[in-house]
Homo-oligomer: 313 residues x 2
């Protein structure tokens, strides 16, 4: 009886793994280091060894394992071919093909942000919905889109790259992608800090943010919760950008729910007080009823989604 | 042997019908008037009668017909339930359920713009691709999105409503949807005329457009082809808005090709000279290689796509 699936989330420093039952319960989680030497050629063999070890120590046979799902940081097409995961030193190759040869188990692979979105749909903030947009407000702004229960991969694996929607015509600084005025420049953790720095430089209005030795997104949201006037203005600007961007996303894919995760989302539901008014102002009326929810799986979204690829598809 | 499918495209004044073979060849096209009286309650019975008549006159039995596909002007969910097609006087009901009862044939239904997109993917400008965005530049700007060969319907049938992406913060006039600054206000046929009027009112620079008794999108593009300087400026503005909007769409669904149709597209491939530079300026680099193609099915895209729903899914 095939009762288990393994979810693997490959990050730049560690690979997270999880053993799941068919019902989506995680039975065990563990990590191995990501060895990036030799163009990342050790990563998949290390994963295969880690999976085999754990199967052996648990006395699990291949007949009991449905398969292994993998999330990788780079563009991955619907067949599981990765196109240059620069953080890992990887060129172009088919992940399932390579890993299957080493494990003799079914393997599926997809982009890590998309896999995390799938996890949030399956067992997280989007549970019960088949059409979701997962938004990760971290160092950058990532996205993962699920349409009718399947990952929207796109033609070249760039589906859901919503952090790079152009949202501001008057931006002097370049985004990491070299364009100017991307959503990521305002709605990421670093984006919130940029908005804060700009606002604080504008005038001398008193704010508890001025006494912080180092500004952070958390400091800004803590100040918003303390009803600091300047911080509230920054939050409004953040909400204006993100609400406008998500309104554009809604006009394209019309989701049931936006699931907001990543470091910035630790501020909690207060975010929605600032996103929602702008979203409603800009969105097509047919998409106005989309819900906003917080991601609930945190750093485990990747292993959940990876296992979910195996169990649900 | 089931060898034929019937495609039905319900419009505000006429219903177009087409008989197709499995290979996607249209064998016959005909039309009936759209009778909107009595809350549009005659429309589906009229369609059923038209289909039965044609089957009888051709000597076709039910065993030879794969089914009937329907495109309807309003939000239609994945089950074929229409939510208030105001142009037809329709409230909320399931189109396949009602039409199947009258025809005793399999029926599928979807939104007309989405069905037309499906037609362009199957037999038109997007043939050979499974991930396309069809853009209709008509009175408004419509859209239809195909992901992995299937229509992206969205949670409430508003998937692909790209005409209502917010694209301009400084727009005094309201869009038909009551928002301000929607893509449709600049890239539709009426939008091109608005841009032209505004440009002509700015100064007295000579232009052949000034001698036109009535401005139209066609007049503007004819003037562009004649290298009228003012018309070229208008075209650049049009391209800037549309390219920016499609770049946002690309960051969400990452299509292989944009298929451009509708009245404005009659100007031809010269449109791409104005859309493409703006698209490339704003788009995420992973989506830069999307192609632009003209729609080829014209007003028949709807019947093609409707038949395609039956033959391809």
């Amino acid at each position: 009886m095939k009762e288990y699936a393994i979810g693997v989330d490959i990050g730049g420093t560690t690979v997270k793994l999880g053993l799941f039952d068919r019902q989506g319960q995680v039975l065990e989680k563990w990590e191995i280091p990501t060895v990036k030497e030799d163009q990342g050629s050790h990563i998949l063999p290390d994963i295969a060894a880690a999976v085999k070890d754990r199967m052996a120590s648990r006395g699990l046979t291949k007949d009991e394992i449905l398969g292994v799902g993998v999330g990788a940081p780079g563009p991955v097409d619907t067949e599981g071919t990765v196109y240059k995961a620069v953080n890992l030193g990887w060129d172009v190759f088919n992940i399932p093909q390579v890993l299957q040869a080493q494990l003799d188990l079914p393997v599926k692979a997809a982009n890590d942000a998309n896999v995390a979105a799938f996890g949030e749909m399956w067992q997280g903030g989007g549970k019960g919905h088949a059409n979701i947009v997962a938004v990760t407000l971290g160092t950058g702004v990532g996205g993962g889109i699920i349409v009718n229960g399947s990952i929207l991969t796109g033609a070249t694996g760039a589906g859901g790259e919503i952090g790079h929607i152009h949202i501001e015509d008057n931006e002097p600084d370049p985004c990491g992608c070299q364009n100017h005025g991307c959503l990521e420049q305002y709605a990421s953790a670093t984006g919130v800090v940029r908005l804060a720095r700009r606002r604080l430089a504008q005038d001398q209005e008193p704010s508890i943010l001025r006494s912080r030795s180092e500004l952070s997104a958390k400091a800004v949201w803590d100040a918003v919760k303390a009803e600091d006037r300047v911080a509230v203005q920054i939050a409004k600007q953040f909400g204006e950008y993100l609400g406008k961007g998500l309104a554009a996303v809604a006009a394209v894919v019309n989701p049931e729910v936006f699931v907001i995760g990543g470091g910035v989302s630790k501020a909690g539901e207060i975010l929605f007080d600032y996103i929602r008014p702008a979203y409603e102002k800009y969105v097509f009326h047919g998409c106005r009823n989309a819900r906003f929810a917080l991601a609930t799986l945190g750093n485990d979204a990747g292993i959940f989604g990876a296992a979910g690829l195996i169990i649900n598809e």
